[in-house]
């Protein structure tokens, strides 16, 4: 009812403005998906060895006849014998140009529309969310779920990030994927992903968000397993989807609890009904914990983070968009959206904080010993997401969203930059027909002289993530840690007990864990930069000549992201940095959405003293610079050897390099028993034995037996018939006599 009230009333400040076109925002990428999907399907139905859309992959190795023909076809980059590397063959798609036009264009149009809506919102100064209701989706008894979009400050920020960073990544992909046979399919999936992600952030109720939630999970699976002809990639996609499903179960249970107890599932209704719940009671805590379970799946926290490093099997721009900037932040968005409920459950919020802190520390430690450049970034993402959860768990929702935005900038930049590096390495190995790993840092080194622009931009991103002052990451990370300290002193969280321990020491411990994670972040990021760009080059004599900067279609977006990483901090400058510009811009912007919840958690905390603030800032800066210094001092690139000659790790380093053997533990404890149960009991026992044997074959044999019995009656002998007759008569008479 509140939904209709808010929507039907034309009295909202945003009615009649560009905001009326909010439905077009997700529709444009959907259109792109349909067009690109049609392009990829259209070519799939034409046969012939010179059709590049057929993913030949390893299959082509087995068909030398068609191979020879393909060589002569024009527009082909096939070289006899070599096919790029294991990832994908080299063959530009027939409809690639059309897909190039449609893919980024729809996203650019979406971004332009988002900007228009944003300016309209700025001018309107709305307090209540703008809800556009389209149709009633599930009217079931008391439950009324509509397909509706909610436009408020929080969703606007997310939309801008998604469409903005998305457009840049689409442009980057044009260059990165140009030689891939599955080019239109890639853009189709990418567009579909943006569609679902926009649905997620624009939905006006939890089921709408859930559609987007599931949809981005699907697209993640499709894109991770993009080069599915290789089993490892397909497995990674499967793993991502299945692990996500476990989280989705939590989300669903939370929705059920919400409906059962509050009677509504739209944000406006839930926020209104939340204060009526028992503060810190079992119900609110349960709802929040189940929601958080969904977040651990989608945003890769402990215990469901295991899919994210494997997801690096997908193309690098996909890792940038999905596994850095947008999809994995859906969990943070969910908690910010549900701030009203989380503020009512301090125990659950503390759980979020603790899990976030543990994840941040844990992932950072693993990142210290990874050699694959993308894996380093993957664990870095997990770690930074931990920071975001620390923030939203501690009731600093704005800080969490702020870090979400800045992280989108510098992590996308880092991923795309590594994409440029990998692109250059690929080209080099392709030219020399080598099969070395193009992503292993031990094969890189000294690339700064070959890729100047990328080197500078990646350093900007590294400084940002390490928290060096005045880059974006510094402001956001510092704000998070500052808020943790503040909450430790005075908040509903500090007053609660968590598993018997008081909240206050937990929060202080979390602060120091955050500092430790920040230190490790600086170390491993600098390590990455040193091993990749500095020191001697380990790629090889012949390859070195081919190393070079990527084309401008790829480097251009990097520049834009670099600027954003550098200047992104201006979104929410703290008070002490007022000399730099307007302070607390994001705070004021998000105030109508998360303000009341933040206030509830803070419980009227006094303004933090300036001396404490400077101390905290100083500590964060010192930690960041210390980390960089340690890396430069201790991690010399000189003793490194290329991957093919590298010795295996020893001792604790091996544990780190093998990710604490968590995947192996999950496999032994969960996967293998499930597989054995499925194979032994469910397949052999139930499916083959029970259903096939008893139900299907059994009923068939029973029918056959009855038929055989019947056939015996048709002996053709009069005697038999006489018997049957008499027995029938006896039966009928029996009915009469016994009645």
């Amino acid at each position: 009812m509140l939904l209709q009230h808010a929507a039907s009333a034309g009295s909202h400040p945003l009615s009649g403005t560009a905001a009326e076109w909010v439905w077009l925002l997700p529709l444009l990428p959907l259109l792109g998906f349909l067009v690109n999907g049609a392009l990829s399907l259209a070519s799939a139905f034409r046969f012939g060895p010179d059709d590049p859309s057929a993913d030949h992959g390893h299959a082509t190795h087995a068909h030398p006849a068609s191979h020879a023909e393909a060589q002569d076809a024009p527009g082909h980059h096939h070289e006899h014998g070599a096919h790029g590397d294991d990832h994908h063959p080299v063959a530009r798609h027939k409809f690639a140009n059309l897909a190039t036009l449609v893919g980024p264009a729809v996203l650019g149009a979406s971004f332009a529309l988002a900007l228009a809506i944003f300016f309209a919102m700025q001018g309107a100064h709305a307090d209540a969310p703008f809800v556009q209701r389209y149709f009633s989706w599930m009217p079931v008894g008391d439950l009324q779920i509509d397909v509706a979009f909610q436009l408020d400050q929080l969703s606007m920020i997310m939309v801008l990030v998604i469409t903005g960073v998305g457009t840049l990544i689409h442009l980057f992909s044009v260059g990165y994927m140009q030689d891939d046979p599955g080019y239109p399919r890639y853009f189709a999936y990418l567009n579909l992903f943006v569609f679902f992600m926009l649905l997620l952030v624009l939905g006006a109720n939890y089921p709408m968000m859930f559609i987007g939630w599931e949809g981005v999970g699907l697209c993640s699976y499709l894109l991770i397993g993009f080069w599915f002809s290789e089993k490892a990639n397909a497995d990674a996609g499967k793993k991502a989807f299945i692990v996500n499903r476990i989280g989705d179960f939590g989300f669903l249970v939370a929705m059920f609890l919400l409906f059962a107890n509050l009677g509504t599932l739209d944000y406006v209704g839930v926020a209104a009904a939340a204060p009526s719940l028992v503060f810190g009671g079992a119900l609110v805590t349960a709802i929040c914990l189940f929601l958080f379970l969904g977040c651990t799946g989608k945003s890769a926290q402990i215990p469901l983070y295991v899919w994210l490093p494997d997801a690096m099997a997908g193309p690098t721009p996909v890792s940038a968009l999905i596994h850095a900037a947008t999809m994995v932040t859906a969990g943070v968005y969910l908690i910010a959206r549900s701030a009203a409920i989380f503020a009512m459950a301090p125990a659950a919020s503390l759980t979020v904080v603790v899990v976030g802190a543990l994840t941040a520390l844990f992932a950072a430690s693993i990142g210290l010993k990874q050699w694959d450049i993308k894996k380093v970034l993957a664990y870095s993402t997990v770690s930074q997401l931990g920071f975001m959860f620390i923030a939203v768990g501690a009731g600093a929702y704005v800080a969490g969203v702020f870090h979400l935005v800045t992280h989108a900038f510098f992590k996308a930049l880092l991923f795309l930059g590594s994409g440029s590096v990998i692109y250059a390495m690929h080209r080099a190995y392709h030219a020399t027909h080598s099969h070395e790993d193009a992503q292993d840092m031990r094969n890189m080194g000294g690339l700064k002289s070959h890729m100047r622009v990328t080197w500078i931009l990646m350093w900007i991103a590294t400084l940002a993530i390490a928290g060096v002052p005045f880059f974006s990451g510094f402001f956001s990370k510092d704000e998070i840690l500052g808020f943790v300290w503040q909450r430790a002193g005075h908040s509903t969280l500090a007053d609660t007990t968590w598993l018997g321990i008081s909240g206050r020491p937990i929060l202080y411990a979390v602060y120091f864990m955050g500092l430790a994670a920040a230190l490790m972040t600086a170390v491993y990021m600098t390590r990455m930069m040193i091993y990749t760009f500095h020191g001697p080059n380990r790629t090889g004599e012949r390859e070195r000549a081919h190393l070079g900067e990527a084309p401008w279609v790829m480097t251009g977006p990097l520049v834009v992201l670099g600027m954003l990483s550098a200047l992104g901090g201006w979104l929410n400058l703290p008070s002490f940095a007022k000399f730099l510009g307007p302070a607390h811009v994001l705070d004021h912007w998000l105030e109508p959405v998360v303000g009341p919840a933040t206030a509830m958690v803070a419980r009227g905390a006094p303004e933090i003293a300036h001396s404490t603030e400077y101390m905290l800032v100083g500590a964060a800066v010192a930690i960041g610079l210390l980390g960089i210094a340690i890396a430069f001092a201790r991690l010399k690139p000189a003793p490194l050897v290329p991957k093919s000659q590298a010795l295996p790790e020893e001792g604790f380093e091996r544990v780190l390099a093998n990710k604490y053997y968590v995947d192996e533990a999950y496999d032994a404890a969960l996967v293998q028993p499930t597989v054995r149960l499925s194979r032994g009991l469910l397949w052999r026992g139930v499916d083959s034995g029970l259903i096939d044997g008893v139900a299907v074959n059994g009923s068939a044999s029973v029918a056959r037996f009855i038929g055989w019995m019947g056939s015996q009656l048709q002996s053709g002998q009069v005697g038999t018939y006489a018997w049957v007759l008499v027995i029938g008569v006896v039966a009928v008479l029996g009915a009469f006599t016994l009645r």
Binding site: S715, Q717, G719, W723
Partner: protein, 97 residues
């Protein structure tokens, strides 16, 4: 004498049924059927004494039909004998299928 007649009739009928079930010779089987018909005739006549002459009319018709049936049935048995040289019913399964 209704009850006694019905008693005798039941016994005769049952004997006829057992005969039909037991014997293999086609002609004897046929005669057992005739026995059953006779038992039923006795029933009808007994009821006719109690309820009116309609019972006897029924017996009349039964006899007529039994005669016709005997003629045709025996003709069939003769034809069968000519074909198979036996009247043993266990060997005859022309009705099969």
């Amino acid at each position: 004498m209704l009850a006694e007649s019905l008693f005798f009739s039941a016994v005769l009928f049952t004997i006829g049924v057992v005969g039909v079930l037991t014997r293999r010779n086609a002609i004897i089987l046929f005669m057992c059927v005739e026995l059953m018909l006779n038992a039923v005739n006795l029933t009808f006549v007994a009821f006719a004494q109690a309820y009116g002459a309609a019972g006897q009319v029924f017996v009349f018709f039964v006899m007529t039909v039994a005669a016709a049936e005997a003629a045709v049935g025996l003709a069939i048995i003769i034809a069968l004998f000519r074909h198979r040289q036996t009247v043993d019913l266990t060997n005859i399964n022309l009705l099969k299928g």
